[in-house]
């Protein structure tokens, strides 16, 4: 499940719940629908409400990166907790994708 907000050309998608192979289809299609609708310059994936994430999350992030790149846009991840961050560390996601730091503890 996702929630979103749009500000100018900046689209923030808040992913909610578990990210796994089962949930990734809906997360992907719903996020892509928003990208096609708003054609944002910047996509921020907000992980503050993500309760679990396995390698399906890597594919979601890399897939959105490729899609956004076609429109000349960028992707960054926000509020990724340390445990989920370890998954992304393994995949080299941070080499191509920006990270918005967690403000609160």
């Amino acid at each position: 499940m996702i929630g979103y907000s749009i500000d100018e050309k900046e689209l923030t998608v808040m992913i909610k719940g578990d990210i796994d192979h089962h949930s990734s289809v809906d997360i992907r299609t719903q996020t892509d629908e928003l990208i096609f609708k708003y054609i944002p310059n910047k996509l921020i994936l907000d992980f503050s409400q993500v309760t679990f994430c396995d390698s399906s999350g890597i594919a979601i992030v890399l897939g959105r990166y490729k899609l956004m790149k076609q429109y000349g846009g960028t992707v960054s991840l926000a509020k990724v907790n340390p445990q989920i961050s370890r998954i992304f560390d393994l995949s080299g996601v941070w080499n191509i994708i920006g990270r918005k730091e967690v403000k609160s503890k």
């Binding site: 679990f52 396995d54 979601i60 998954i87």
Partner: protein
């Protein structure tokens, strides 16, 4: 190494069961009072192994997935995820990071994650007979 407790669950290879698989495994292990990080690691490796069975092992049909969890002394946990699917033709290749025969929505990182988040990983597979993934994790001592 003596066995202290064990459990087994069997469920059909439907993606909706991925959450059930990892949560019930984590719930069984909670008797060892693991850290949040250890719970998260265990949920993740179970999720990866079960997803492999669903996406690859039973790519063209539904079948049974069996998870066994063994708790040994010295806080050693062994988890096996077994399917009777198509098997893995080339295990070495399958375990390479970013290698996948899956679609675009797979990252090819499953075995890399299982390897990193467990202390020991063993994969046995026979073509058209199935695959058993065995993972061990030794939990940190608790006061």
């Amino acid at each position: 190494m003596s066995l202290i407790n064990k459990m087994q669950i069997t469920f059909p290879s439907r993606s909706v069961n991925e959450g059930f698989a990892r949560v019930s495994t984590a719930s069984f292990i909670s008797q060892l009072d693991p850290t949040l990080e250890e719970i998260s690691d265990i949920k993740t490796i179970v999720s990866e192994a079960v997803t492999n069975s669903i996406v690859h092992g039973y790519a063209d049909r539904e079948g049974e997935i069996i998870i066994s969890v063994y708790i040994y002394d010295n806080r050693r946990v062994r988890i096996t995820v077994k399917d009777r699917g198509v098997g893995i033709p080339d295990i070495k290749k399958a375990m390479e990071a970013c290698f996948t025969t899956g679609s675009e929505d797979r990252a090819g990182m499953g075995f890399t994650i299982m390897q990193t988040f467990s202390d020991k990983l063993k994969v046995r597979s026979v073509q058209n007979r199935g695959t058993i993934v065995t993972m061990e994790k030794i939990l940190c001592p608790r006061p």
